[in-house]
């Protein structure tokens, strides 16, 4: 094939050499550390017969995984639901025109708003000394008595929704935009009532975005660390926070391999999730052109 860079006169089979810096960089700073995790995780821990990667899915560690996956599933589900509703609502409002741009910019910030500042904001709002806690208290409801803590399951769920909903919003706005008005009108003229349009046309066409969004939100919550850490000062039962404990406490426990094993399992779960996401995206691309 003739290419515009022919003038360089590099024989075709040497051309990929130009990609060497990129591949070496990824290999050195991403693949090597990631693959080494698995090697380290296969060794047994102190006072244990089984390999760390096996031990990491037993007992309290298994519980941690279940807890983290539950949290990720729940925040992904709620994020999909509310994010889609928010996108549909914002698109319904035609005027003023700037409103939609404003919402897109704002959600762009919020979707990326993780870590320390977000945790601060929610501690100031819903922590034991929080403003909203106080507001609710003035209506006669003591938040702490209901079992709610900003660092327990319900609390982390609410905090995570702060970035999950905007992320889903950003995924769904183009998806809703992709639904052409003439499809709805064609369906109506063919006798489909609005619910039939959504059942047979609208929902199937949105399914890739909904499913893909769900997987993206799941992986987003699953790999989140900073927010959870700052919310509960390292005491949470989330896998990412547990990994930190092993990495820093390795001299005491002698179980630092467990940290590697937990991280390896995270990569496996993320790999499955992202593969699913890519398959869905590839399939949808076919008829979205």
């Amino acid at each position: 094939m003739r290419t515009p860079l022919q003038r360089f006169r590099i024989p075709t089979r040497f051309r990929p050499v130009g990609l060497l810096p990129f591949f070496s960089f990824v290999a050195l700073f991403l693949l090597w550390p990631a693959v080494s995790l698995f090697r380290l995780a296969l060794q047994p821990t102190k006072n244990s017969e089984i390999s760390a990667i096996h031990e990491a899915i037993t007992g309290q560690y298994l519980e941690s995984f279940i807890y983290t996956i539950k949290l990720s599933l729940l925040t992904a589900l709620l994020g999909v639901l509310f994010g889609s509703l928010l996108a549909a609502s914002v698109l319904r409002i035609q005027r003023p025109k700037w409103f939609r741009h404003f919402m897109t910019s704002f959600t762009g910030v919020a979707a990326n708003l993780g870590g320390i500042p977000l945790a601060f904001a929610f501690i100031a709002a819903l922590g034991t000394q929080g403003l909203i806690t106080k507001l609710i208290d003035s209506f006669g409801i003591n938040l702490a008595d209901t079992g709610f803590r900003i660092s327990n399951f319900a609390g982390i769920t609410i905090v995570y929704l702060y970035f999950q909903i905007p992320l889903m919003f950003l995924i769904m706005v183009p998806a809703f935009d992709g639904l052409r008005a003439t499809w709805a009108e064609s369906a109506a003229s063919l006798g489909a009532a609005p619910w039939q349009y959504w059942r047979h046309i609208g929902l199937p066409l949105l399914t890739p975005a909904l499913l893909g969004g769900f997987l993206l939100l799941f992986s987003n919550a699953f790999s989140a660390y900073a927010t959870a850490y700052a919310l509960s000062s390292g005491g949470a039962r989330l896998v990412p926070v547990q990994i930190r404990f092993f990495l820093q406490g390795n001299t005491i426990t002698g179980k630092d391999n467990l940290g590697y094993a937990l991280a390896a399992w995270m990569i496996i779960i993320m790999f499955i999730t992202m593969t699913g996401y890519l398959i869905i995206r590839r399939r949808a691309e076919k008829w979205q052109q």
Binding site: E185, A187, A188, S189, L190, G191, A192, I201, P204, L205
Partner: protein, 318 residues
């Protein structure tokens, strides 16, 4: 009894009068074209008939029933858009049988009917294909089959040919005309292209600024335009002066003459365009610089007719 009738329909879009006292009746099996420049209200009229817009006043009558208050999905109209708008996740057959599916018709019968409809538009081999795997012309024929599968009261076509290539456009145009004749389906066709309107319609309804300028057969509208707007919009026309009166003459109703010293007008040839059987000659009138054009049979034009020639122009004998 007419198959579809607009009675005194008006529609205002935020201060812009899109339709004003619009009245039109389509006889059973008739193909009527709404023709006009963009923004003349033709699409609005079609969308009001389909139920996608509601009129501010007036009624839409189908088979003696006023359906103005009915939602679109209860009107039983077949609609075809410029953008094909096939459902991208359904194959061709499922697209065609969609209207039957939402009516709860059994799948075997749906399949049979879809095959029939695809036969009708000569695409029976493509039933299993996805919309993105077939050409634009094929997609539009599938859209026609889909709209006709439920045997609608009226077929509504919104610029269905505008997105197609010139050659395919003629094919699909003839297809529409054939389906209209063979099935006897009343058809309302919207276009801004006068050639399209001329070649396909039983009657043309020329519109401008939300009102009807003229309704009549293509021949009628062309030969006896009721207004200067219609004369200019349908075909091309020259504005000439005969003494103190202004007259409108079609290019083919003028003849050039090299030897008549008393020709009605004189002008200088500025351009000669050969278009096959005919040749279009552009001129500039001697006394008032008005550009005009004359359409002559090519066989009658010889080498003496050249650019820059001063020549006499007469009205053709009727």
């Amino acid at each position: 009894m007419s198959a579809l009738e607009f009675i005194n329909v008006s529609k205002n879009f935020g201060g812009v009068q899109a339709l004003e006292g619009f009245g039109l009746a389509l006889a059973q099996g008739e193909l009527v074209t709404l023709l006009g420049p963009s923004g003349c209200g033709k699409t609005t009229a079609l969308r009001i008939a389909a139920g996608f817009e509601t009129s501010d006043s007036g009624s839409i009558v189908v088979n003696s029933t006023d359906i103005a208050a009915r939602p679109a999905h209860q009107r039983h109209m077949g609609m075809v858009f410029q953008s094909y708008s096939l459902f991208p996740h359904l194959n061709v057959r499922d697209n065609v049988s969609f209207g039957l599916r939402v009516r709860g018709i059994h799948s075997d019968e749906r399949r049979k009917r879809a095959e029939e409809m695809l036969d009708l538009v000569r695409l029976s081999d493509l039933g299993h294909r996805m919309p993105h795997q077939i050409s634009g012309g094929q997609q539009q024929r599938v859209a026609l089959a889909r709209a006709l599968a439920t045997e609608p009261h009226v077929l509504l076509l919104d610029e269905p040919l505008s997105a197609l290539d010139a050659k395919i456009r003629v094919e699909v145009r003839d297809e529409i005309r054939r389906l209209n004749r063979d099935l006897g389906v009343t058809t309302l066709f919207v276009t801004h292209d006068q050639d399209e309107a001329m070649s396909i319609s039983d009657r043309i309804c020329v519109m401008n600024n939300g009102v009807i300028e003229q309704v009549g057969s293509p021949r009628d509208v062309y030969n006896n335009p009721s207004s200067s707007f219609v004369a200019h919009f349908v075909g091309s026309i020259n504005t000439l002066h005969k003494g103190n009166t202004r007259i409108l003459i079609r290019p083919e109703n003028l003849v050039l003459t090299t030897h008549d010293e008393n020709a009605q007008w004189r002008g200088v040839i500025t351009d000669i365009t050969f278009v096959g059987a005919f040749t279009k000659i552009s001129l500039r009138l001697e006394n008032d610089d008005t550009p005009i054009s004359v359409l002559a049979i090519s066989a009658q034009i010889d080498n003496s007719i050249t650019i820059g020639l001063n020549i006499g122009i007469n009205e053709a004998a009727q």
